[in-house]
C-alpha cells in the first residue's frame, strides 16, 4: 500500500502511531513491509490458504463475534443436503459439469431453495461475467430459510465452514504458503484480538488479489473473516479495495464494460433476456426481498435517460434497442478476435494495452491486424506506435510496410483541462474544476464522443434502417459552450443523477425512481449527486470545518453514504456495539436511525420490525437485517449462488505453478476461463510434465514512482529519473543458483516471451520452503515499455491469458518462468529461444492445461 497508494497509507501510519499493529503479507519485502510491525513473505497465489488458515483459527478457537455472526450472517442457515464440499470431492464441490468446466449450483442452495438457484447452470454466466450479478443482486432466497441458532446442525453454514476449512491448519499454511507457523499464528492472533465489540480490523486489498484465476474467491475469503469477526458495516472495519486508477470505480459504476449497464444493471443476454420483463425479472427476482426489488424503476429510468421521449411504457422504453450478449465479449476475447481478423476497429481511451494488458505480444499482434485504430492519449504511447517501434518489429513479426492498421492518434485533454467527476476508491465522487484550456488539438473525451455522436447522427439522419433508430432516437442534446463547443459536463452529471421527466427537477434519491416513465436516471446509484440542482460532488467543505466522517466533502454513492451496510455498526436492538465504535444507531425517542453517517437502512424501520409473511422487496427486510441488498438480509459466509467457482473459497494453485496443490488433488481452479488460441499458451504445471522447464515464479506489481503502463510516468521527467530502468529483483539464493550479478543483466523466459532486465540482487526477496521444496520467486515492475523518457521490456509480455471465471480478469500476478543471466537475444534468435522453451516444455499452440486433475498422478502427495 505504501508502494502504490502512499497517500492512502498515511492513515495506516496514523493508526500505527496510535498503537495499531500492521502486518504485511507480500512475496517481496516492500516499502510497506519496511514500516510494518511484521512482514510475512508468501508464495504468490496462495492467499486463500493463508486466509483459510485464519478462518480455521477463528472457528477452532471460537473467536468469532458470535452475537454479530448469529444475527447478521447466514451462519445459522441450513444448506441443502444435496451439497457436498471440496473436502469430499478432492477439490470439487457438488454440481461440477466436466463438459463445460462449470458448476450447476442447485445443490449449493439453502435447504428448501434447491430449485430456485439464482443461476443454475453457470457456463453462460461465466462467459458473460454475470455470475456476480447474482451476488450483488442477491440470489433468490425465500423469506424463511431454515436456521439453527445453536449452530450445531451439521448442515448449517457455520458447521460447513468449519469442515471446509478444517485442513487449513497452521502446518498446511506453512506447507502451501511458505509462511512459518509462528508467524502465521502471530497474524491470526493479532487479527482476532483486535476485532469484536470494542475494536475493528480492516482488510485492504488491491489487484494483488484480483488478478488471479481465483481472484474473486480471495476477496470472498477476506470477507468471510471480516464477517466472522464482526468487522463489516462498522467504522474501522470492512474489506477495502484500493483501486488503481483515478476513476476506475466510476468506470465500473457507469461501466465502460461489456457486461454491464450503469448502476450494475446487466447488459441483456440474447437468450435469457429477450424481453424487458424477463430482463427486469432476472434482476429483481419477483418475490425476493431486498432493495433490488425496485430494479424495474432503475431499468426503466435508465432507458428513459437514453432514449427520452422515444422510450415509452408501451415500447418497453426502447428495450429492443439494446444490443445483446451472446457470450464472452471481454477484452481478451476481443484481442484474440482481432488476431483472427474478426474485429475491424479499436478505440483506446487513455489505456495502453501493449504494455498494460497480459500477453503484450498478443495485444500488439491483434492491433496490427485491425483496419483502424483510434488512440486517444496525452502521450505517444506504445499502443500507438507498435507498428513502428514494437518488439515484434524487431523480430520481424510485424513489418510496417505490411501492417494494414490505420492509426489515428488524437491528443487528449488532461485532468486540469476539463471538468467532471472522478469516483475514487471509496465510492466518493469529486468534481474537478477546469483550470486551463487543452493545448492544440487536445480535447476531452466528452468533446470527442459528443461531437462524434453528433456527426454519426448527422450521417445517418436520412436512414430508415431500424438498426439506426437507436442512434437517432438517442437523447444527445447536451449544451455546449466556448468556441470549441465543449459539452457541459454538469448537464451530463445531471442526467446521470436523474430528473423528473415532466418538471425536469433533479431527483434527490433513487427512491424517487419510477417504472412508469416519469423519471429518467442515467445511473441510479448516483442519484442524489445533483440533488436540489446542486453539484454535490463539487462540495469542498474543509476537513477542519466538519467532523471526521466529512460528509460534506464530495458525494459518495449511494446517498452520500460513507460506510455501506452501516446498520451493522449497531447491535440487533439498534444500540451501538460499543461506545468506542459508535457509528449509526436507532434513536428510540425520535423513532429513527441516526448517527454520524447516512444510515444504510430505511430511516424509520425499527429494529423490532419483522416482515409479514410473503413480503418482498425492501419490505421483506427485517429490522435487524443489515445487509439490505441481499435476499435474506444477511452477510454471506457461504454464497449459495453468485460465485461461479464455489460457495466457499478453496485453495487452488495458480494456473502456472511449480508445485502440486498440497490441499486437493484438483490442481487449479477447474472453472477458470481458458482460451485455446494459437497465440495463447500456459506453461506446464504439476501434475503435467515438464514444469521444471519454468522453475521460477515471477510476480509483478507497481513501483511508487511509476503509474501502470508508464504512459503518465515514464513520460514525466521527475518521475522517470527516480526509476529509470527496467529491473528484476532476485534473492541472493536465486542469484547464486542462476548466476546473476547485481546490476548485471538477466532475461526471463516464459512460454510466450522473453524479456530482459537489470538485476537487483536483494535480501528483500527470499526463497520459500513449500511442501518440502525450495521455491524461488522473482519480482518485476510492469511499468516499462518502448516509448517515453525511460524504456525497457514489458513484464506483462511474459503472461499468457487465463481468466477468473467470475469477472474475466486475467491471472497476471503470477506466472512461471526461467531466469538466465545476460541479455536476451534479439531478432529471430529471440523467437527461436521462446520456441525452444516451448518445445522443451511440450507447449503446443492453443493447448492448455487440463481443467480437471483429480485423475492425474498423485505421487508424493497426501491429503487425498
Amino acid at each position: 500500500m505504501a508502494e502504490a497508494h502512499p497517500v492512502g497509507f498515511q492513515w495506516v501510519m496514523e493508526a500505527k502511531r496510535r498503537g495499531a499493529k500492521v502486518f504485511h503479507v507480500d512475496p517481496r519485502f516492500t516499502r510497506t513491509s519496511a514500516v510494518a510491525d511484521a512482514y510475512l513473505p508468501i508464495r504468490a497465489g496462495t492467499d486463500i490458504a493463508l486466509l483459510g488458515g485464519v478462518v480455521r483459527y477463528i472457528l477452532d478457537n471460537e473467536l468469532d463475534f458470535r452475537e454479530y455472526v448469529l444475527a447478521y450472517t447466514n451462519a445459522a442457515t441450513i444448506v441443502s443436503e444435496r451439497f457436498s464440499d471440496t473436502e469430499d470431492g478432492d477439490g470439487f464441490f457438488s454440481g461440477f459439469d466436466p463438459e463445460t468446466g462449470t458448476y450447476v449450483q442447485d445443490s449449493w442452495q439453502y435447504e428448501g431453495n434447491e430449485d430456485s438457484s439464482g443461476s443454475g447452470h453457470t457456463a453462460k454466466e461465466r462467459d458473460s461475467a454475470s455470475g456476480l450479478e447474482h451476488e450483488s443482486h442477491g440470489a433468490r432466497v425465500d423469506g424463511d430459510t431454515p436456521r439453527d441458532e445453536t449452530l450445531q446442525h451439521p448442515r448449517c453454514v457455520y458447521q460447513i465452514l468449519k469442515r471446509h476449512f478444517s485442513r487449513y491448519t497452521p502446518e498446511m499454511v506453512e506447507r502451501v504458503c511458505g509462511i512459518p507457523q509462528d508467524k502465521f499464528l502471530e497474524l491470526a492472533q493479532a487479527w482476532t484480538a483486535n476485532s469484536g465489540r470494542d475494536r475493528t480490523g480492516m482488510l485492504i486489498y488491491s489487484v494483488g488479489w484480483t488478478q488471479h484465476s481465483v481472484g474473486v474467491q480471495y476477496i470472498r475469503t477476506g470477507a468471510i473473516i471480516q464477517l466472522l469477526l464482526g468487522n463489516m458495516g462498522r467504522p474501522g472495519g470492512g474489506v477495502m479495495a484500493l483501486r488503481g486508477h483515478a476513476s476506475i470505480q466510476g468506470s465500473t459504476d457507469i461501466p465502460t464494460l461489456f457486461n454491464l449497464l450503469p448502476g450494475y444493471l446487466p447488459m441483456p443476454h440474447h437468450a435469457d433476456h429477450p424481453t424487458f420483463d424477463e430482463w427486469v425479472d432476472s434482476i429483481r427476482h419477483p418475490g425476493q426481498k431486498g432493495f433490488w426489488g425496485n430494479a424495474e424503476s432503475f431499468a426503466a429510468s435508465l432507458l428513459k435517460a437514453y432514449w427520452g421521449d422515444a422510450a415509452t411504457p408501451e415500447n418497453d422504453y426502447c428495450y429492443g434497442y439494446l444490443p445483446r450478449l451472446t457470450g464472452d465479449h471481454g477484452t481478451y476475447q476481443q484481442v484474440l478476435n482481432m488476431i483472427d481478423g474478426k474485429i475491424k476497429g479499436y478505440f483506446l481511451l487513455g489505456q495502453n494495452p501493449a504494455v498494460g494488458s497480459a500477453h503484450g505480444r498478443a495485444q500488439r499482434l491483434g492491433m496490427a491486424n485491425l483496419d483502424w485504430l483510434v488512440v486517444r492519449d496525452l502521450f505517444m504511447i506504445e499502443s500507438a506506435t507498435f507498428w513502428q517501434n514494437g518488439p515484434e518489429v524487431a523480430t520481424g513479426e510485424i513489418v510496417p510496410e505490411e501492417c494494414r492498421t490505420e492509426v489515428f492518434f488524437l491528443p487528449a485533454a488532461s485532468h486540469v483541462e476539463k471538468e467532471g467527476t472522478f469516483t475514487q476508491t471509496q465510492r466518493l465522487l469529486q468534481w474537478r474544476e477546469k483550470a486551463v484550456e487543452p493545448p492544440g488539438d487536445a480535447r476531452s473525451e466528452l468533446w470527442f464522443f459528443y461531437h462524434l455522436g453528433r456527426r454519426l447522427r448527422e450521417k445517418l439522419a436520412a436512414s430508415s434502417l431500424p438498426r439506426d433508430r437507436a442512434l437517432l432516437d438517442l437523447t444527445w442534446d447536451y449544451p455546449t459552450h466556448g468556441p470549441r463547443e465543449e459539452p457541459s459536463a454538469e448537464s451530463v452529471l445531471r442526467e446521470i443523477n436523474g430528473y423528473d421527466v415532466t418538471t425536469g427537477r433533479p431527483l434527490s434519491s433513487f427512491a424517487e425512481a419510477r417504472a412508469d416513465g416519469s423519471t429518467a436516471i442515467g445511473c441510479w446509484i448516483y442519484t442524489g449527486v445533483y440533488a436540489d440542482g446542486v453539484n454535490q460532488a463539487a462540495r469542498r467543505k474543509s476537513r477542519h470545518e466538519q467532523d471526521w466522517v466529512a460528509a460534506e466533502w464530495g458525494w459518495a454513492w449511494p446517498a452520500n453514504r460513507r460506510i455501506l451496510y452501516n446498520r451493522a455498526s449497531a447491535d440487533p436492538d439498534g444500540n451501538p456495539w460499543s461506545e468506542r465504535k459508535r457509528y449509526v444507531w436507532w434513536d428510540a425517542e425520535k423513532a429513527e436511525w441516526t448517527g454520524y453517517d447516512v444510515p444504510d437502512f430505511e430511516k424509520t424501520k425499527p429494529p423490532s420490525y419483522r416482515p409479514p409473511a410473503g413480503a418482498s422487496g425492501p419490505e421483506g427486510i427485517a429490522g435487524d437485517d443489515p445487509f439490505v441488498m441481499q435476499g435474506d438480509g444477511k452477510g454471506w459466509l457461504y454464497a449459495p449462488s453468485g460465485v461461479l467457482d464455489g460457495p466457499l473459497p478453496t485453495h487452488y494453485e495458480p494456473v502456472e505453478s511449480p508445485v502440486r496443490n498440497p490441499l486437493y488433488r484438483q490442481q487449479a481452479n477447474p472453472t477458470r476461463k481458458s482460451y485455446a488460441h494459437p497465440v495463447n499458451s500456459v506453461n506446464p504445471s504439476p501434475p503435467e510434465e515438464h514444469s521444471q522447464v519454468f522453475p521460477y515464479v515471477f510476480t509483478v506489481s507497481r513501483l511508487t514512482e511509476h503509474h501502470t503502463a508508464g504512459g503518465m510516468s515514464r513520460t514525466v521527467r521527475p518521475l522517470a529519473e527516480l526509476q529509470p530502468e527496467m529491473f528484476v529483483e532476485v534473492s541472493p539464493e536465486l542469484a547464486a543458483e542462476a548466476g546473476l550479478a547485481h546490476l548485471g543483466w538477466a532475461h526471463l523466459i516464459s512460454g510466450r516471451a522473453v524479456i530482459e532486465a537489470k538485476v537487483l540482487v536483494t535480501d528483500r526477496l527470499t526463497p520459500l520452503r513449500v511442501d518440502g521444496r525450495v521455491i524461488h520467486q522473482v519480482w518485476v515492475p510492469y511499468h516499462f515499455g518502448f516509448e517515453g523518457l525511460v524504456t525497457g521490456d514489458s513484464a506483462n509480455d511474459l503472461f499468457g491469458i487465463t481468466l477468473d471465471p467470475n469477472v474475466l480478469i486475467q491471472e497476471s500476478k503470477i506466472g512461471t518462468c526461467d531466469v538466465r543471466s545476460g541479455r536476451r537475444p534479439t531478432g529471430k534468435a529471440l523467437l527461436d529461444l521462446v520456441a525452444d522453451y516451448q518445445r522443451r516444455a511440450g507447449i503446443t499452440p492453443g493447448g492448455h492445461a487440463p481443467a480437471v486433475t483429480t485423475d492425474q498422478d498423485v505421487e508424493g502427495r497426501d491429503g487425498s
Binding site: P718, E721, K758, D763, T766
Partner: protein
C-alpha cells in the same frame, strides 16, 4: 552592532545575529525517518515547485535510490539502506525461510561503483565499495559495555541491546561472524557464494532484515559555513533563520561547496551557480509550508518553528524507545553540537554515516579566529624574513 560572542560557534539564534530585528521564530524541518516510506514525493514536490532540472536517468542499484546524493539538481534525496539487521521490534522478516547468506553488503559494494551523471559538479562520484559493504552492518560504535550509561542503547555491533526472545527458527546467533556479512566476502562480484539455499547449516541463514529510508536535505545550520565563506553575500540568512542562495548574486566561486560539512551544496554544470534547498523561502514568506513537507504523505517531513519541532522530536524518540525501538536517536537537534544545531534535523535509526551523514560535523569557521591568527603570524614571519634578508646581510 557587535556580533554575538557565539557568532562563530555555540548556541545562537541565527536570524537576529544576521541583523533581523523582530525576526519571526526560526523555522525548520524535523525529518522522522521511522515513518518514512521512501515514496520520494519530497524529491518530486521540491523539483516541481523550485523548477529544479533533471538529475540523470541512471539505475544506480543503491536499493531504490536512483538519485544518489543531494546535488544542485536534487535538493531532497531519499536514501535507502538494506540491512540484514533486526528491526528492534517485530519479528525477523525472513525467520524460518530457507535463506542462505545475506547479499546486502555485496550488492551495496557493487552499487558504490555506479556513476550518476547529475548535470552537476561534483555531483555523485563513485564510492568506496568496502565502505558501502559495511553500511549494512550499521556503524560499529564505541563498544561501551552494555551495562549502563546513556550510550548503552546499542551493543558493540551497533545492534539494539534489547535482544528479542530467541526465535523458534534457526536464526543466527548474535556473535556469529557470518551473520551479517556471511557470504559477502566471496560474493563480492554479486555472485552470492555459500551453500545451495535451504541446505545451509543454519548459521549462514539470514533472517533479520530492515530497510531504512531517509529523506535528506540541506541542514540549514545555525553556523552555516557555506554562508560565512560566501564572498558575494549570495548565500544569506533569511529572517526565518534559514540559509538561501540568491541566484541573482551567485557567481559560482564554489567556496560554499568545499565549506559545507554535509556535502549538500553543489554546482550546476550548465549554469555555473551553486544550488541547494531554500527551505522554500518564497513559500515561507507567504505563510505556506515548504513543498516537500506539504507533500510528505506520512508526516516524515515535518515543518514548523524549530523549538516546537525539537520538543516534538524528543517526545517521538521517547515513544519509539518505549515501543521497543532503542536505536532511535536524534541527529542535528542539539544547539551545542559542532554547527550550533541544524535547522533541519532528523530522527535516525542507525548511526549517521550509514545514511551518508557526517557523524560529528563541526563548522569550519569555529577555528577561523585561530586561522586568522596563524595567518597573521605567518605574515609577520614573512615580513620579518624579508626585512632580515635585506638588512641582516647588508648588501653583499
Amino acid at each position: 552592532m557587535v556580533p554575538d560572542p557565539n557568532s562563530l560557534y555555540g548556541p545562537l539564534d541565527p536570524a537576529p545575529d544576521a541583523g533581523y530585528e523582530d525576526a519571526p521564530p526560526r523555522m525548520g524541518f524535523f525529518t522522522d525517518t521511522s515513518v518514512c516510506i521512501g515514496c520520494k514525493a519530497c524529491e518530486v514536490a521540491c523539483k516541481e515547485w523550485n523548477g529544479v532540472p533533471g538529475s540523470g536517468l541512471d539505475l544506480l542499484g543503491m536499493s531504490y535510490d536512483n538519485t544518489g546524493a543531494l546535488t544542485a539538481n536534487s535538493w531532497r534525496h531519499v536514501a535507502f539502506i538494506e540491512q540484514p539487521r533486526p528491526t528492534g521490534h517485530g519479528a525477523a522478516a525472513f525467520a524460518g525461510t530457507p535463506t542462505g547468506a545475506t547479499v546486502s553488503a555485496a550488492s551495496a559494494a557493487l552499487a558504490a561503483g555506479t556513476a550518476g551523471p547529475t548535470g552537476t559538479d561534483p555531483g555523485l562520484p563513485p564510492g568506496s565499495p568496502s565502505a558501502a559493504a559495511r553500511m549494512v552492518n550499521g556503524t560499529p560504535t564505541d563498544g561501551e559495555p552494555a551495562s549502563g550509561g546513556p550510550g548503552s542503547r546499542v551493543d558493540v555491533l551497533g545492534d539494539p541491546v534489547a535482544a528479542r526472545e530467541p526465535s523458534a527458527h534457526p536464526t543466527v546467533t548474535r556473535d556469529s561472524p557470518t551473520r551479517t556479512n556471511g557470504g559477502a566476502g566471496p560474493q563480492f562480484l554479486g555472485m552470492p557464494g555459500g551453500q545451495p539455499p535451504g541446505r545451509g547449516t543454519g548459521v549462514e541463514q539470514r533472517s533479520d532484515f530492515r530497510w531504512l529510508m531517509m529523506s535528506d536535505v540541506c541542514k540549514h545550520c545555525t553556523h552555516a559555513a557555506c554562508l560565512d565563506v560566501c564572498p558575494t553575500g549570495s548565500l544569506f540568512r533569511t529572517e526565518f533563520g534559514t540559509v538561501v542562495v540568491q541566484e541573482d548574486i551567485c557567481n559560482g566561486c564554489g567556496y560554499c561547496i568545499s565549506a559545507c560539512p554535509y556535502g549538500v551544496i553543489d554546482q550546476r554544470k550548465d549554469d555555473g551557480r551553486a544550488w541547494k534547498c531554500t527551505l522554500c523561502y518564497d513559500r515561507l514568506g507567504a505563510g505556506m509550508t515548504p513543498a516537500c513537507a506539504q507533500a510528505c504523505p506520512t508526516e516524515s517531513i515535518q515543518y514548523g518553528p524549530l523549538e516546537e519541532l525539537r520538543e516534538r522530536a524528543a517526545a517521538r524518540v521517547q515513544t519509539l524507545q518505549e515501543r521497543g525501538v532503542p536505536e532511535a536517536r536524534l541527529y542535528g537537534h542539539d544547539p551545542n553540537d559542532g554547527v550550533g544545531g541544524d535547522g533541519a534535523f532528523f530522527l535516525l535509526l542507525d548511526e549517521p554515516e550509514v545514511y551518508g551523514l557526517p557523524p560529528d560535523p563541526v563548522v569550519t569557521t569555529r577555528d577561523l579566529p585561530a586561522m586568522w591568527k596563524r595567518a597573521g603570524l605567518a605574515a609577520l614571519a614573512m615580513t620579518a624574513a624579508t626585512v632580515a634578508a635585506f638588512v641582516v646581510g647588508g648588501s653583499s
